[in-house]
């Protein structure tokens, strides 16, 4: 498989959120605003790339029978490092992600990539795979966050210097969109739209 295909695979064909439906717990909880979604996504990209690199490098050293605990240790180490550094240097992000930051350890996306890709492939493809999957996760989470924020709070880019109050001050936003039920509803709509687009593209490619 070509590297560009691996990358595309992660973002579209096997998008972790919209196609594989893994790691939904943090997707639903954290995507309350664009900036939260983006920071969670970046955190996942970091952990995914690092764990894919290490797992790929160690794939011949780690015996098959203990691969899962070994992968978990690798993933947990990177998550903890990330947690420490975010707490020290980017505290607002650390606070916004809250409990979902340490929970990246159990995000299925990361273990799944270690298991099904990095442990069977060389360094560079594994890194690209981590990047692709991570980007797929990040893009979905950011867009979902932006839409939820717009509908639920009437703002765009809240939490940043460029915060815009789209509908003006008096706007009464529908709180459901930033609450968990809204996340489920929107995610459903996202998956539906994504499937329609992917189907059309496939039909086109087949022609």
């Amino acid at each position: 498989m070509k590297l560009s295909e691996i990358l595309k695979n992660g973002i579209f064909d096997e998008n972790p959120v919209l196609v594989q439906l893994v790691g939904l717990c943090s997707v639903l909880a954290v995507s309350t605003s664009f900036i939260n979604g983006l920071s969670m996504g970046l955190a996942v990209i970091f952990v995914l790339c690092c764990s894919n690199i290490v797992v790929s490098l160690l794939r011949k050293v780690i015996p098959d029978t203990i691969r899962i605990p070994a992968f978990i240790v690798v993933i947990a180490t990177f998550v903890t490092i990330l947690e420490m550094f975010l707490n020290a240097y980017l505290e607002s992000v650390y606070k916004a992600l809250g409990i979902f930051l340490p929970l990246i350890v159990v995000n299925c996306t990361i273990l799944a990539r270690a298991e099904s890709f990095a442990s069977k492939n060389k360094l560079i493809p594994s890194l690209v795979d981590g990047l692709g999957m991570g980007l797929g996760f990040t893009l979905t989470l950011s867009i979902l966050g932006a839409v939820r924020e717009l509908l639920g709070k009437g703002t765009l880019l809240s939490g940043t210097a460029a915060e815009i109050n789209v509908f003006g001050e008096g706007f009464q936003a529908a709180g459901i969109w930033v609450a968990p039920p809204g996340a489920f509803i929107l995610l459903g709509i996202f998956i539906a739209v994504f499937n329609v687009i992917m189907k059309k593209r496939k039909a086109k490619a087949a022609e």
Binding site: P69, T77, A88, Y89
Partner: protein, 357 residues
């Protein structure tokens, strides 16, 4: 055997390397995090006491003494300005909706009032429970008295009233609990005022108090005949224990201990019924109902609505009770009200069963 050992050693090496890497990252980040947290804390203190010059941690022995009564208080800071103590700040916590809510309560020594509060780390629901961080909420604590217990209401005005956030009752009460505890600790340990820490009542003491409250004239409470109790329990799913209330050796009524289901789990209720078939009162025991909402079933307003009701008919709860079989329905706590009602009606049926025998 050899294979197992190899697996173990491989895993050991991996975890050892991981531990090393983590120790290294920790050594870099720990001082920065500690420094930032300290600054955050004192930053909050500066907001409460703009004139403060020095923050002194109260010495270990004193803290230990306070903690023996108020274990939730983690830190006490003395605030000094112009050479004299102007206040004490208490770091404490109380259980909220998503876990403990840390609250810093600043008290001003000059007039024994709350100088201000600051919400520390918590895991309350975003956009709902976390509104406890809004100044519109925390500011309602400013200047409130410490000598009286604060209460949370929808539109606070009196000296001991603070904001209750509608839709975030549990979070609001977590803050309230932490502040009240800080206030009490302050009065008990840092003032000359004659305030004693409240003595915790044991379950038995509480039960005995309840019994004598239900039958003020009684001088003795004895469990009823076991055979009779068993025959009643066989037909009544709520009743657990029955006592005879006696005055001068004569039975004047019965006390029924029932357990029914509330909103948060088991709901023990004690119902007193005098021999002539009127309810002398009810008492709700230790429960897990929602603080400030379901727990209204423990308040006299509710419990007293049962007093004097007849036992012939099944009791029903209505918003404004009038008839012989109507008792108070607490709006917003229907499930808790119903739970109590199940227990009392169970007691009522058990009473009728005793009388008929």
């Amino acid at each position: 055997m050899k294979e197992t050992l190899k697996l173990g050693i491989t895993l050991l090496v991996i975890t050892a390397v991981a531990a090393g890497v983590l120790a290294f990252s920790n050594s870099i980040t720990e001082p920065i995090i500690a420094e930032r947290e300290k600054q955050e804390r004192f930053g909050a203190l500066y907001n409460i006491y703009p004139d403060a010059e020095e923050f002194l941690e109260v010495d270990e022995a004193k803290l230990k003494e306070v903690q023996s009564t108020y274990p939730n208080i983690t830190e006490i800071i003395e605030i000094v300005s112009g050479g004299s103590t102007i206040g004490y700040a208490f770091n404490g916590s109380a259980g909220g909706y998503g876990g403990p809510v840390n609250v810093l309560t600043g008290i001003s020594v000059a007039d024994n009032t709350v100088a201000g509060i600051s919400i520390g780390s918590h895991s309350e629901t975003p956009n709902l429970g976390d509104r406890i961080e809004d100044p519109s909420f925390t500011d309602t604590y400013k200047g409130k008295t410490t000598t009286e217990k604060l209460v949370a209401v929808a539109s606070p005005s009196a000296d001991n009233e603070v904001q209750l956030i509608s839709g975030a009752t549990i979070s609001s009460f977590a803050v309230l609990t932490a502040v009240n505890e800080a206030n009490e600790a302050y009065l008990v340990y840092f003032t000359e005022l004659d305030v004693e820490p409240p003595v915790e009542e044991t379950e038995e003491e509480k039960e005995a108090r309840f019994m004598s409250e239900l039958f003020a004239d009684a001088d003795e409470f004895t469990p009823i005949d076991e055979g009779l109790l068993e025959s009643i329990i066989a037909e009544n799913i709520f009743v657990r224990e029955i006592f005879e209330a006696k005055a001068g050796g004569e039975v004047i009524g019965y006390i029924f201990k029932t357990i029914s289901g509330g909103y948060g789990g088991e709901l023990p209720v004690m119902t007193g019924i005098s021999l002539d078939g009127t309810i002398t009162g009810i008492r709700v025991g230790a429960n897990s109902e929602t603080p400030g909402l379901g727990t209204k079933i423990e308040e006299p307003d509710f419990q007293d609505s049962f007093v004097g009701k007849a036992t012939e008919e099944e009791l029903v709860a209505v918003p404004s009770p009038a008839a012989e079989n109507e008792v108070q329905l607490i709006s917003g706590a229907t499930v808790s009200t119903d739970g109590v009602l199940y227990g009392v009606n169970g007691a009522r049926e058990a009473f009728l069963a005793i009388i008929s025998q």
